[in-house]
Symmetry: C2
Subunit: 381 residues, 2 copies
């Protein structure tokens, strides 16, 4: 594991070196997990050269140097003969403004440089070990998704089926917690049925759903599952902290032809993504997708109906909405070991949502899904 974390620190240092930054101070949970491997409430100081130093405010173990407050850090660094950096990466997007100001006061002569974006970019290309952790989460997810036909009982509403799936996920080792970047909130995932699938949510997910409460307006809302409805299941596998994102669509009874056609198109778009390996530009795949969808006459129900999500895929890892994003203006070039969830989804009026989602490991010559799981609509009864 020491080698794994050296690798990650070196990736951060390469970015620092390329941008003439002397040090990086990590203090938010997701980046701490990335750079240090444990949740630590404190600060992780990464100089361009020399040893990294962990300062911990809430020591769960004997790790690092125990501090009460960040004001102690500069003197402790000087005691270790570590010079104050001229420039330092600090997580400006995630760290509260007050905490940034407080830390800046501790380093009055250091120029702070916003680093959340840099760290999200660094994290977008996974190590082989990180990929293996995502695949472990994917296996958990496959086991549970395969059991969904057994979990369904006629007469259920969306919440009731959701509870069965959540319970199964937990029993298979799902860690529960679901980390997101920014103002996204969700419980373990979403299950969308019938009309609710087309209802918008304020959150920036691919689809919405009204949710069971105004206080958490996303996903299932108590809709009874009727004959002719689809059930879209979009949970995250999380066995390791590194998540896998996967959506499958089920039908209760027979659907109108448009639903099958749109679902078939979704599968074709996933297949197309397999042949968009490293070297391709994120935006290009999104624009190509829009073309395909338009040609099929499905633009008005693609990625929502009331409100349409302006992307078709996103990175996955420690957070469910990582870089890169398959959307307009994202000129990011795909690189090997980026991990990207692609989720072309359609709203079919009177039916629900259709489409599949898979998480892909970007490769040199092709992209490979993390799961080998039937993408067709599965009929429940």
């Amino acid at each position: 594991m020491k080698e794994e974390f050296s690798k990650r620190i070196n990736k951060i240092r390469k970015h620092m070196s390329d941008n003439n930054v002397d040090a990086c101070m990590i203090s938010t949970t997701v980046n701490m997990l990335y750079a240090y491997g444990h949740v630590v409430i404190g600060y992780y100081y990464i100089p361009l050269e020399g040893e990294t130093v962990l300062f911990t405010k809430k020591a769960a173990t004997k790790e690092g140097i125990s501090i009460r407050k960040p004001e102690q850090i500069p003197d402790l660094l000087l005691d270790m003969n570590i010079a104050m950096p001229n420039t330092m990466y600090v997580e400006g997007d995630v760290m509260g403004h007050s905490y940034w100001l407080r830390l800046q006061k501790c380093f009055p002569d250091t120029k702070f440089i916003e680093a959340s974006l840099a760290l999200r970019t660094i994290r977008s290309v996974k190590t082989d070990y990180e990929v293996s952790l995502i695949k472990q989460s994917a296996r958990l997810q496959v086991e549970v998704y395969q059991s969904i036909p057994d979990l369904f009982k006629p007469g259920m509403n969306d919440d009731e089926l959701a509870h069965e799936i959540e319970y199964a996920l937990r029993k298979h080792g799902h860690l529960g917690v679901h980390r997101t970047f920014g103002q996204l909130e969700i419980f373990m995932g979403s299950l969308l049925v019938g009309k609710n699938a087309g209802l918008a949510s304020p959150y920036d997910f691919a689809l919405g759903g009204a949710g069971d409460s105004d206080t958490i307006p996303i996903g299932a809302n108590g809709t009874k599952i009727e004959k002719g409805n689809t059930i879209m299941v979009d949970y995250n596998g999380n066995a390791t902290g590194y998540m896998n994102d996967c959506t499958r669509t089920f039908s209760y009874g027979i659907l109108p032809q448009k639903a099958y056609d749109a679902h078939k198109l979704s599968i074709e778009i996933l297949q197309l993504f397999e042949s968009y390996p490293a070297g391709n530009v994120c935006e290009d795949f999104y624009l190509k997708t829009l073309q395909i969808v338009e040609k099929a006459g499905l633009s008005d129900c693609f990625m929502g109906s009331v409100r349409q999500a302006p992307f078709v895929g996103h990175g996955v890892g420690l957070e469910v909405n990582e870089f890169p994003v398959l959307a307009k203006r994202f000129k990011t070039i795909l690189e090997p070991n980026m991990v990207v969830a692609v989720e072309p989804k359609f709203i079919i009026e009177g039916v629900g949502a259709v489409g599949a989602e898979d998480t892909f490991i970007i490769g040199e010559t092709n992209n490979v899904a993390t799961v080998d799981l039937n993408r067709q609509i599965i009929k429940l009864d």
Copy 2:
């Protein structure tokens, strides 16, 4: 409901007026729920006088004025003949530094004043309606806690029992999402058994537990429930977005006398809190508690063993760690309709954790627990 939100806005305005602040701009989820009642990704402008204005970036409904970016706000306000404020409350603790800077650039002549602390203080005194929402969550919790003896099966480990409780909570209408302030993370709550109860966690909860993964180091960790262990169940009721916090302790078989004695003391401390109504100082109750615990010779196992939490209670509401805090240096005077969870807990070596927790509504003459639920250790078999 209009009256309810007028009441809350007036509380915010009173604080603004007392501090000579012209406006308040809310943009983080919990305060948006408090001031507006829905999750809105956007900005809620509250001037000292005149109409409030909602700007929404992700319109789930037709609410508010749709914007693409905060840079549009000043012109839109001027179009409504709303003058730029000289001073404005902005949520500096929760809002990312980058977002604060961006908003400040939109209001170059306005002095921004950190308001997260003010808003947490305002939120600490609930309206009667908020209290009713907490009581609704409490009822959900009571139903499930009463069923725990039926959920337990000999041979279970802590995770297995936790999954049953979570599943029962969801089936009773628990919304799942668990909001916290700061760097706290937890799934739906914690279940602590045996030695794991004494293990520290980096998070600032009353007790820890190693958790099932380094990526979420809190709570159950796969400990088998053995004869002579306690099982401490500390979940949150959340039926409404407003949470109720409640802990009960179960025993598998018979415990050593020290466990019963410490648990009895915990109940006595809860009873004592009933007679610390409005007008009392938070710190005083904490210091009194420390005295009682010391007199009983239990100081070394109070609120943890490896690492001891430096508080005995905390506010509850939209977040699980609200104001006030029953801890040293908290000079806050209790007020009617503050809602405070009190959780005196002890670690008994070789046994686990004992103690009970209840959420109290602070009253003029006494404090009343939100649940009427046996506080004794309940024996499972």
